[in-house]
Amino acid sequence: MSDYLPHHALLRLLAVLALVIAPHLLRLPLWESLAVAALLGWRALASARQWALPPQALKLLLASVAFLAVYQFYGRVTGQNAGIALLVLMLSLKLTEMRSRRDVMVVVFLMYFLLVTHFLYSQELWTVLYLLTSSVAITSVLIDAHHPGEPLPLRQSWRMGGVMILQSLPLMLLFFILFPRIPGPLWGLPTDAGPTRSGLSDSMSPGDISQLILSEEVAFRVSFDTRPPPPEQLYWRGPVFTSFNGRTWTASSEDLKRRIPAEIEVLGGEVRYDLTLEPMRSRWLLALDMPDPRRLPDKARVDRNGALVLDRPLIERRQIQGRSFTRYRLDAQADAALLDQDMEYPPWSNPRTQALARQWREQGLDPPRIIDAALRMFREQEFVYTLEPPLLGRHSVDDFLFETRRGFCEHYTSAFVLLMRAADLPARVVTGYQGMEANRFGDYYVVRQSDAHAWAEVWLADRGWVRVDPTAAVSPERIERGARELFEGVRATSGLFGAYTDWRERALMTWDWVNAYWNGWVLGYGPEVQQLFLSFFGLDSVRNMLLALTAGITLVLLWIGAGAFGRAQAPATTERALLLWQRAGRRLARIGYVQRADEGPRDFVERVREREPALEAALDTLLDTYLRLRYAGEQDRALEIRLAAAIKHLRRPRP
């Protein structure tokens, strides 16, 4: 019934366990966090007070209850969140049986494993620190478990753990850089995989509450190989919505199934850029209008609406080498049947909007004039651009156009596209990002969630799909300066406060720059980046990578092994008398006499002399000269020579 670990070692294990579980506690349901904390506390007390551990039946019962509770809460026991919840509970329950080394090892291995699950939620820069601290802590627990009896002093086991982790770091780097990466995933990802982040939505319903635009999270970072395009051309194309149910715009399910690519004809204005996209669980990649169809990123395709679509939602950060053209012609020869889809709307919805569009059509306006009429309405009537629009009723476009007249890009775009459709023009909603912010520290730009934008496209004969941004008609500054600046107002740039904000901004930009490199080079180090990076060194094939990896690992291990071996050796003696005495000891050992630990030189030589009378003279000289050199402090070269000569005679006499 007793514990394998002594009380102190167990307390250390519990503390490390708490460290490893802690970040999960925020994500776990409250009852589970409480149960885990209670188990840890009870285990510490049980060890201190020598309480008996629960019987087998109770442990089985607890495990079943834990299983059922997780199932009850999550509706399943697999998947990322439920799986981790179950793992944490089972690990805590394992504390009730810690009788053998095996139990301790299972707990320690599970702790290492639990550490890895944190990175499914966050891989920011600070997690490196957490990774290293926790690894050292768990390793020191493992060291404690293999030291019998009294545990080592805490500082010492931490030091040993730290040294081992430190020595593992170069190996980790080599593996990280050179281990051939393969594009994942290997098998299906659970549907709740990846961190939960906001991003572009799969639908757009103006009039519902929108929070996205206020988020300062980074959507992506971009650096340009060519001159960055002017602000009015910085439209980052994302999901395109073509189907409208009277209130909500969504992507057409027909388009998702049919996989007909849009026909893109590039005319000029080439822009090349590197884009590091944050994982947003989206099936769309972002690209500057319009991506070059001949140079698409891996695993991406152009859909009917000119958007870049992935077959699987993006859950990891991705680096994209993009090439776009700001002058293009999109689907100039579109199929009439397909265009019909882009003119549909529910006939019962928004009757006043329909009536207005019908009026324009009956006036005999041609398509460009109709567009102009709509934009003029936005510009000349009292429309207000605001991020806090009032909620809208059932006929949301009618309410917006004729009642509230307050809204942001979604409202204007939605109203505009419906007007166009009602006027028999094919039109659709394009969402994405508009604008960007330069990072002065590094040579790149940041696009944030608050730069999310929606605009419209209208199909015109011979010209194809043409971008129309109705928001620009209302608030041209939104396009030129970006949403954030517009709402933050004019910044104080003078005096002490100005210096402070300047300093703060500089710090923030530096931090963003560090993060950009972290994201681009470390977190984004996948098969593509690895290939790119290693080809600089001529390591472009898997075979070469493996060769370099093996060579590097061998070298580092040789170095570590040589260091460890050197420390295992006796420190070199420089005292010549002692060296000679050691040589004498080796010769005497050869004929069967070994100085015992409790024997001084005198006793030892006496013992040999009794048994080996033939060596008497040599032994006497040996003892005399050695004692004089070593203990009487005589520094005499002649004595050393005599001692060395005597040693030569120490051999078994020939019969």
Partner: protein
Amino acid sequence: MSIASSRITTRRPHPLRWARQRIDAWVLGRVPRQHGPVTVTRNRVYIVPTRFGWGFALMLLVMLLGAMNYSNSMAFALTFLLGGLGLVCMHHTHANLVQVQLRAGRTRPVFAGEMAHFELLIDNPAARPRYALSCTWARGMAQGSSMDVPAGSYCSHSLAAPAPRRGWLDSAIVEISTEFPLGLFHAWTWAHLDMRCLVFPRPAAPGLPPPLTAGEGGSLGQARSGQDEFSGLRNYQRGDPLRSIHWKSLPKSVTPMVKQFSESVERALWLDWSATPGATVEERLSRLVRWVLEADAEGRAYGLDLPDTRIAPGHGEFHRHDCLRALALFQLPAPGADV
């Protein structure tokens, strides 16, 4: 052939372990028998992963697959860090054992049927401590306790082996092993130190007094009465019975004095091989051992008369040891011949 190693052959054979046993036997057969300090050099340290080491590797594989599936860079980093840790651990385990020196310690004689204890001294010449070294017989089943050896110091460990027969009991091959620091690897070395233990014959059951030999002593009881003639004092020697100490002179002299009684040679007890009952050699030896022990406990002078050895009467610890040694080695080949 020594006792401890004979257990290897009597172990229950396991089909899966057959190959391992063959390899062990081959390696063990090549461990040289050495007198002196054996330095555990690099090429004498064997190292294999423990079952926890294999478990660790399996865990790493699962983590690697998970990292690939999620394309998670930090998961890759942790997996690779732990992989590196495993490799580093191998070197640390190896370095914890290498360059240790082994020496034979003292071994006290025992009687047949008892456990012989071989003392082994483990020297750590390095300037850093060795942790959790454990010491067992090679391929023995017993789990040895483990110990730390401080820097520049030594540690003694006693290994028990059954001593069923009289004569010299040679030490079997010893195994020094360690799994420190992480328990992922098991490093060990085998050494055959020139240690042997003298095993006296098993004493026969008490009760039978020595026979009266013609013209000599007689039974222990009768001989005792003849001891009472006081003849003088001599210096105390180890093994003298307490009751013969001359207590009155104790405060005056530096060393205790012992009362001596005049004993004629004829009156000393002669333990004679030819007069000892017993069907076999071993039975007779056992009987003689018992008589030696009884005479020694009585403080009686006794001599031993064996067909090839004759030890004059005397007493004290050294005398007893000489007699028991003669009985232990009676008609056995000289040491060294059986190696």
